[in-house]
């Protein structure tokens, strides 16, 4: 079975701040780690390989320091690692990123299963998996909590708002992984030592034969015009009135904030 896992390197904490001078994200002291849900994706890929045989290629689009995460993915059990990196690829939104990734997967060729994490904890979009699926013309199963492969079909459980849905899809498929899918293993020291010696392939937009209109800034229909820190109620909001009034006010606020 040929498996590709797409991973993203994200900051190790979501407790980020905006630099008041540059108005951009303050990136000092931010360490890059593999997006947590991508770890579930990698783990599932490794389990599928252990069960069905085959080869796992881990792919990531990003700047050179993404290599650290690719190496970690190798240490976790992926066979090959490919970094998609070039100045021209930068500034991409999800559409351009999805296009670039799908070019890479097409170049790898004959891929049966593509795994993503359900979403990245920095951008919080969850779009890239389905975009790649559309570009490749693969069926997609999002929010998977269980995966089995049998006779050319994937049998998966999907996590819905209030329940679980069981689906069956013919290969090839794109899957996006939830936390419930599995418990990611640790890389062992032996695997780390071996992974440290492996070479990571780097592909740029020319290697991928990208349509220049579809990559990077040019290929991104959306643009961020402003970022800001949400008004934090560091000032406590004291609710007043009769118990009934207080209850109504509180419940409304909690529902609006999606906390109930």
């Amino acid at each position: 079975m040929k498996i590709v896992v797409c991973i993203k390197q994200v900051p190790d904490t979501v407790d980020v701040k905006i630099d008041p001078v540059t108005k951009n994200l303050d990136r000092t002291n931010i360490v890059g780690v593999i997006n947590p849900f991508d770890k579930n994706a990698i783990e599932e890929a490794v389990r599928l390989k252990e069960k069905h045989g085959g080869e796992i290629t881990v792919v990531s689009m990003g700047p050179p320091q993404t290599n650290e995460s690719l190496r970690e993915a190798l240490a976790l059990g992926c066979d090959n690692a490919i970094l998609l990196s070039a100045r021209e690829l930068g500034g991409a939104d999800t559409l351009a990123t999805g296009y670039t990734l799908s070019r890479a997967i097409e170049k790898i060729g004959a891929v049966d299963i593509v795994l993503f994490g359900s979403h990245a904890v920095d951008a919080d979009t969850g779009q890239t998996g389905p975009i790649v699926a559309e570009n490749l013309g693969y069926r997609q199963i999002t929010f998977v909590s269980k995966v089995e492969v049998e006779d050319g079909y994937v049998f998966a459980s999907r996590t819905l708002e209030n329940g679980v849905q069981k689906v069956k899809a013919k290969l090839p498929v794109v899957l996006t992984a939830t936390k419930e899918l599995n418990k990611p293993r640790y890389a062992t020291p032996i695997k780390i030592m071996k992974a440290a010696k492996k070479e990571i392939t780097v592909w740029n937009h020319l290697d991928l034969e990208c349509d220049m209109d579809r990559i990077g800034l040019k290929g991104s229909p959306t643009a961020v015009t402003e970022i800001f820190e949400p008004k934090r109620d560091n000032k406590i909001n004291m609710l007043k009135g009769s118990p009934e009034e207080i209850a109504k006010a509180l419940v409304n606020k909690l529902l609006a904030d999606k906390l109930l």
């Binding site: 240490a75 640790y186 062992t188 020291p189 032996i190 780390i192």
Partner: protein, 377 residues
């Protein structure tokens, strides 16, 4: 620290840190109450920790002494007991790596790298610092040595598959008569004696060992007769680097708790972190930890480069252990009444730290070593 770790070392550090935070640290308090945690150690074995310093050909990861120090350092931040157990395991198995015949290495190192905990035993009820005063004997009878005697304070006693036992093959020539033997658990006559009820490091199993006509093949003599003391001293050099790493990790955990508390606890109208007395204690901790880290990794580098590091390792241990003790005491003081409660963990860290001044070379002995070496140079 400007110490440059290699890519592999950084990756291993990351993995050990993650494993420690998720699997080891949450159990430290439980181990303090209930002792050695077999389930945890199964996980530790499964994830390849045992074999980090051993060559790949014997099933290890081929790490160097710096990698070992990184590992012990990160683990100690979660549990000093677990770090100590791993340190003692490596100390024992290391003797076979350095002094063993190819046959012995093949027979034992793979086990040590994968699934068997090893123990090293020199100390006896009547002989600790005075190692030459051990009374266990090993008498050559035909193709076997017959071992008799009692060992005390064996770290990993009772949880190990293989023991490195020091006993006298010649009782008349002091330390020159000590030899080292590889003794497997279950050998008739070899029993694990009483388990020590210790002040700290309670997640690490420490026992007496009783030898009653234990027959050990000639093949299991490590090195030559009379090599025992030298083997032990070389092994302890490496172990003392680990103690430095444990000291730094343990003190850092104590400092972290003290810092968080100081920043939150309000007294006289402001957080106690604003008070100089607290700031000075934290400063001393930070200074001590940084110094210990630098000494530890520098000494590990010396070992990695094959340089003699006996004096340096002793310095690391003396300094680190006393620094850890003081840091833990100060952490308790910063927490005030709460520091006296088990709920805040720092009292456990202090109990753990005390061992560092005693085992694997008491501070007094090590000062003698450093002092005399210095005076003779």
């Amino acid at each position: 620290m400007l110490f440059e770790f290699t890519e592999e070392q950084k990756m291993i550090q990351k993995m050990v840190k993650e494993f420690t935070e998720n699997e080891i640290a949450p159990l430290d308090e439980k181990m303090d109450n209930e002792g050695f945690n077999y389930e945890l150690w199964d996980k530790i074995k499964e994830n390849g920790f045992l074999g980090i310093p051993f060559p790949e050909q014997y099933g290890g990861s081929g790490g160097d002494p710096i990698t070992s120090a990184i590992t012990i350092h990160e683990i100690a931040k979660g549990s000093a007991s677990v770090a100590l157990t791993l340190d003692a395991h490596w100390l024992a198995a290391d003797t076979i790596l350095h002094h063993g015949t190819e046959t012995q290495k093949e027979k034992y190192l793979y086990k040590a790298a994968t699934d068997t905990i090893f123990a090293f035993s020199l100390t006896e009820p009547m002989a600790g610092s005075d190692a030459a005063g051990i009374q266990s004997t090993a008498v050559l009878t035909g193709d076997e040595y017959v071992l008799n005697g009692t060992k005390a304070w064996c770290t990993n006693g009772g949880v190990s598959g293989v023991y490195i036992i020091l006993a006298k093959t010649d009782v008349n020539i002091g330390f020159k008569g000590i030899s080292a033997f590889i003794v497997e658990e279950g050998t008739p006559g070899f029993t694990v004696g009483k388990k020590e009820n210790k002040m700290g490091m309670r997640g690490s199993n420490t026992t007496e060992l009783v030898m009653n006509d234990v027959k050990v093949s000639k093949e299991n003599l490590l090195g030559k007769e009379g090599d025992g003391f030298k083997i032990a001293m070389i092994a302890l050099d490496g172990a003392r680097i680990s103690i430095g790493a444990i000291s730094a990790g343990l003190a850092e955990s104590a400092m972290k708790i003290a810092k968080n508390y100081a920043n939150q606890r309000v007294a006289f109208g402001k957080p106690i972190a604003k008070l100089q007395a607290i700031q000075f204690m934290i400063a001393n901790m930070a200074i001590g930890i940084r110094a210990t880290e630098l000494m530890t990794f520098d000494c590990a580098k010396m070992k990695a480069q094959g340089m003699r590091h006996t004096k340096d390792a002793a310095m690391v241990k003396v300094f680190g252990a006393e620094m850890a003790m003081q840091s833990c005491k100060d952490a308790i003081q910063i927490l005030g009444g709460n520091g006296y409660s088990k709920d805040y963990h720092v009292e456990r860290y202090l109990r753990d730290a005390k061992l560092l001044e005693i085992g694997e070379g008491a501070s007094e002995v090590l000062r003698m070593l450093v002092g005399t070496t210095e005076l003779n140079s």
